[in-house]
């Protein structure tokens, strides 16, 4: 509904008054507080509809002022690359007003309200302006707020965290799939040193799910564009920026990447091997990884190999959403030979044709990922249940027990029944568990090697090799469990690797394997 008559003028007069106070030399808190008291007395800060109108108009005035400064420059011939000089004076003054209001009140509810007004304003502006939307005024607004508000004295316990989550929710409401024209500014704000690290430090990791959700927002936006090997300059620029953010996370917060690897692998396309390797290479900072090329390395003697990794993602989410979990549990428990469970499996992993086109694959990749990891986790649990005393490692539980089991039936059915694409996605789901030393790495490494040894079709052995190799020939980093598995495959005569014809299927492939065998010692 329309603003009350004259309200807009009233707000711009107040804003001009605030600007004058700020520009006074040696302006002090008393003048600020007096002005803010007036706003309270005018009923503008109650947190009601008038409050929303007040801040929306202030946003409009300060953004318009900022963009009007751009108009002046456009007289000069403007090549797209030429950077507009914008004046952020009004934006900074407005940001300071919000900060001054909140500093005194300590009420995060008002901040949430102001952020909601700001988000709606940006969404509307982006929808109206489309290609001519300019994200920079809004970027500057948040750049003002994040360091100041994010470090406000916690007047009430946990106030800081509430402020940070208010920003996290605002960023989620502005994510690239909603406002693609805000994508670059958005990633810079989400990864800002006054925000992301604070969300990932302290507060007993309560901030982790928010950052995970924001990263998923980023990956989901890029996913369709990253399926192609060739990226246009805008996408490549965004991709490189995301790599930088992931490297900061890998270096400073590896446990965060470890614990959410499953979710991230769902939204990173299989073709983004290096980006996925960054996530899979993360390992807890207190862990020391033995060099994979150590001769006769006995990984099942490593203490960590018996510890299950922490997984914060909802592993069985996709299984549940497709009503498959009960059938899987039933089969794992009873291993009913007669049941049609195994026979129907492949069909259930396919996407409806209507979704296949936009998904870029005929298969439901998150469902395959969920099935593989969930089944593996159940198998590991069964193993640990059978030999609680020795904290199961494969060499304490006879290999036979380990390898037979319902889980292996499922994996063997998939590896034989699926077509090349399906098998590739299945093997990817398995290879995504080859990370730092833990029970999953151990188990899925066995599964891959077992499927290689037991399969009668060379195409399967070739595809297993390919899935491992394509993750190794990309630039570093390479996950520890991946190296361990590949070295075992090429060194252990049980797999008869060097007599497989496919390693000589072309001269450059032959050379590739020779160089690999040299580098793996």
């Amino acid at each position: 509904s329309e603003d009350p008559a004259g309200f807009r003028d009233q707000v711009s007069i107040l804003f001009a008054e605030w600007y004058r106070i700020c520009e006074l030399p040696g302006a002090n808190d008393a003048a600020f507080n007096h002005f803010i008291l007036q706003l309270h007395q005018n009923g503008l800060l109650k947190g009601d509809d008038m409050t929303d109108r007040f801040f929306r108009l202030l946003t409009e005035i300060s953004v318009a002022h900022c963009l009007s400064s751009e108009v002046i420059n456009s007289g000069a011939l403007q090549s797209p690359q030429q950077i507009q000089n914008l004046s952020f004076l009004a934006i900074d003054i407005y940001a300071k007003l919000v900060f001054s209001i909140l500093k005194g009140s300590g009420k995060t509810a008002l901040l949430s309200r102001i952020l909601a007004v700001t988000v709606r304003f940006i969404q509307k502006d982006a929808e109206e302006k489309k290609g001519s939307f300019n994200p920079r005024p809004y970027f500057r607004l948040f750049i003002n707020w994040l360091p100041d508000l994010g470090s406000l004295e916690p007047i009430v316990d946990g106030a800081n965290f509430q402020i940070l989550t208010a920003f996290a929710n605002a960023f989620h409401a502005l994510h690239p799939l909603k406002i693609p024209a805000f994508s670059y500014a958005w990633l810079e704000l989400v990864s800002h040193r006054s925000f992301m690290p604070k969300m990932l430090t302290g507060n007993s990791q309560k901030g982790w799910p928010y950052i995970q959700r924001l990263l998923v927002d980023m990956f989901q936006f890029m996913e369709p564009f990253l399926r192609n090997a060739e990226l246009g300059p805008p996408v490549h620029f965004l991709y490189k920026g995301t790599l930088r953010v992931l490297l900061v996370l890998l270096h400073d917060f590896p446990e965060f990447l470890c614990d959410y690897h499953f979710t991230f692998c769902d939204v990173i396309p299989p073709s983004c091997i290096q980006m996925r390797n960054i996530i899979l290479s993360a390992f807890p900072r207190n862990m020391r990884l033995p060099d994979p090329s150590t001769p006769n390395l006995k990984i099942d003697l490593l203490a960590e190999i018996n510890q299950s990794p922490r997984i914060l993602s909802e592993v069985d989410g996709a299984l549940k959403s497709k009503q498959m979990k009960a059938d899987v549990d039933e089969y794992l428990k009873t291993r009913q030979q007669g049941s049609s469970f195994l026979a129907d499996l492949k069909q259930k992993l396919l996407l409806p044709p209507s979704e296949a086109a936009s998904a870029g694959t005929r298969y439901n990749v998150p469902l395959i990922n969920s099935l593989v990891l969930y089944v593996g986790m159940q198998a590991i649990q069964q193993l640990q249940a059978r030999s609680p005393h020795a904290q199961s490692t494969a060499n304490t539980v006879t290999l036979a027990v380990f390898l037979v089991g319902a889980a292996l039936d499922i994996f063997q059915t998939l590896i034989v029944e699926l077509d090349t694409e399906g098998r590739y996605l299945f093997l990817n789901a398995v290879a995504n568990q080859l990370r730092y030393p833990n029970t999953h790495t151990h188990y899925f490494s066995f599964v891959l090697l077992y499927l290689f040894a037991e399969s009668t079709q060379e195409i399967i052995q070739e595809q297993i090799t390919r899935v491992l190799l394509e993750r190794l020939i990309v630039n570093r980093p390479h996950p520890w469990g991946l190296l361990i598995t590949f070295i075992e495959l090429i060194k252990n005569p049980r797999y008869n690797f060097w007599n497989r014809s496919f390693i000589r299927c072309a001269p450059d492939i032959e050379r590739l394997f020779e160089s690999v065998s040299r580098s793996c010692g």
């Binding site: 040696g26 290609g131 920079r136 024209a181 989410g317 996709a318 990749v365 998150p366």
Partner: protein, 172 residues
Amino acid sequence: DLGAIGDNLGGSSMTTGGMHDQFYNLQMLEAAFYKLPQPKDSERPRSYTPRHPAITPPSYPQVQAPIINNPALWDRLGLETYGTDTLFFAFYYQPNTYQQYLAARELKKQSWRYHRKYQTWFQRHEEPKVATDEYEQGTYVYFDFHVNNDDLQHGWCQRIKTEFTFEYNYLE
């Protein structure tokens, strides 16, 4: 509402899943590519405006030398040999600046502790007589400003305070 991640990752994660189609998204991204945030968009001048600027002859430097914000300088000034006056000067006369922050850090390294309520730095003169989870009690040195009414002498000094209770919730 965080649990929704699992749901919207169901079948649809491989599609754009968003409000617009891929072509629109790419178009908007390309438009944004020419309006990237610039480094100066993030620079916020932490201009230090002295409250009571001392008027100095124009021949004096009119802005602070950049080295004053170099942590290495304050590591050196924090050495015992240089005493604490410089640190206290920076702390009390350069409010809300990086050097104030660095000076405070050096004072802390020398086991000075800032009392939020008295806005004064205290240092144990000897082991406290009483120490509980909430407070400690004993004799302390503290850095204070004093005014001598008779001879109008005034200035900063260090004093001894016996039987002082330092409540930890006032410890910054």
